[in-house]
Symmetry: C2
Subunit: 298 residues, 2 copies
């Protein structure tokens, strides 16, 4: 497997489940390099290794070799490996040919430029989904995010406006995403700590371990939550959650709902989230993370 993004991890899992030997090559220092911070990605590395994936990080694939039209070697900067098949999952590129032929302008990300009505630069031509550029709800900056939920909503906006005129506005995205890596669920929304720094914020973060149930309730598991805030404003910029229970998809959705409304750690602390012993600890893990970041305010 070449590439440690969402698709790379999902394919690696599927192939291991079929009993295949799997080598995973990622040129960056950790998997999910653009969507998770390294400290959280290490939990995924442990899970991959535990499940027999041979992890090759910091190792750029530079070529392949084969005989009779069949590949049998991967060549990296560090060595050569005998293999039978190669799956490449090295990112998504928008297919802009049709839009370019129609005269539509491309944005700074290389995807089709659209405004909040999903109008391209050509009158009466709309673009939506994996072909179109979008923008961050946090920074306002142009982004290219090829994920299904915003694609569907952009399509809805484009369709409604195409029929009714300027009717719906697309507000932007947080890049909220979740996937399953063997027995772990991994989810994220907003900016990573590295991205927050690159965007000029002064990020502060905490990484906590929390249980998914009251401490005495059977069946609870431990999950890891990283929360990143802007130090000066207390605004929550991003959250990453990893743990062996799909309930963490709910955690990331709560975080996305709040971050999308510009929430601070105060808003997280006072969010009236549910509690019952089988479903959550009394202090919801997101609230606990906000408390830690409040430096004793809560």
């Amino acid at each position: 497997m070449v590439g440690g993004g969402y698709i790379g991890l999902e394919v690696a899992e599927a192939l291991r489940n079929l009993g295949k030997r799997v080598l995973l090559f990622e040129m960056m220092p950790h998997v999910l390099p653009t969507t998770f911070d390294e400290d959280m990605a290490k939990l995924i590395h442990d899970e991959l290794i535990k499940n027999g994936v041979e992890l090759h990080l910091n190792e750029k694939v530079v070529g392949f070799r084969g005989v009779n039209g069949h590949v049998n070697k991967v060549i990296t900067e560090k060595g050569e490996y005998n293999i039978d098949k190669v799956v490449m999952g090295v990112g998504v590129k928008p297919d802009v040919d049709l839009a370019v032929k129609a005269g539509a302008r491309l944005g700074e990300t290389g995807a089709v430029w659209v405004n909040e009505y999903m109008e391209t630069s050509v009158p009466n031509v709309y673009a939506a989904g994996d072909v179109a550029e979008t923008w961050s709800l946090i920074t306002g900056k142009r982004m290219y995010v090829a994920l299904a939920p915003p694609a569907n909503k952009m399509g809805q906006v484009a369709g409604a406006n195409a029929v009714k005129g300027r009717f719906l506005k697309f507000p932007g995205v947080l890049g909220t995403a979740v996937t399953k890596v063997f027995s772990l669920y991994v989810a994220r929304t907003g900016l990573t700590e590295r991205q927050a720094r690159e965007e000029g914020f002064k990020p502060v973060s905490t990484t906590i371990k929390a249980r998914t149930t009251a401490h005495y309730y059977p069946g609870g598991v431990q999950v890891n939550i990283k929360m990143i805030i802007d130090e000066s404003s207390g605004r929550v910029l991003g959250v990453q959650v990893i743990g062996p229970d799909k309930i963490i998809a709910g955690y990331i959705d709560v975080a996305a709902a709040l971050i999308g409304k510009g929430a601070t750690i105060d808003d997280f602390f006072f969010a009236d989230l549910s509690y019952s012993p089988p479903t959550a600890p009394i202090w919801h893990p997101l609230i606990t993370a906000a408390r830690v970041l409040s430096k004793g305010k809560y």
Copy 2:
């Protein structure tokens, strides 16, 4: 079991799990009468009956009879029933004696009046938790909500302000709650449709069925979601979710997070919630409910 509130349902389940015959008496037409609408409560009735609870709705208990100090009959308005033990779970009343002795004023709900700093009417006396009154984040009206998460937060606010002066403000509650009834998880936040009408809103609601996973992914189950909005403003007033998967606690938390920030159905529709086949359908069930209520806008 006398009383079909959260405690009544939990005790009924525990006793059935011990193999006991259980009669559940509720004077109102449905269980959870103050926190769920009747249409949703009916799903809980089905689950109780399926699990052998003998459900007596619209049936007020008026007395008990016994011999030698041991109860052996429940008397209701409709009849008499032989029983061995009685558990009463008929609401929560704040124990205000100490506060009253200290001269603290009681609020309209009968609990100790406090302001947003958790100060009582007596200088330097604070109250928090099940003894104190709170208020609705939606209507601003005084409420008495004896639930653990707001109790803990009120305690945090009271403690911080007692030490540091007026430092933290408690914003109010939505009455977010979740419990487990046999194999169902039932959760709610905000106003019920009946409460919304009583509060002077013009509520419109929808009740949808949705799956917890992509349609082709194994292990998904069907859940029921009711969403109540104010017709004129589109503001979401309340959500109720019932289904056989604890992931619905996440749904109610997302709803609570958004409603707490005054969200409309537009905010629900555009919330950047996560998607992956094992954890959610592409259109998150809350987004689908918002779409239905948008009457073709989305």
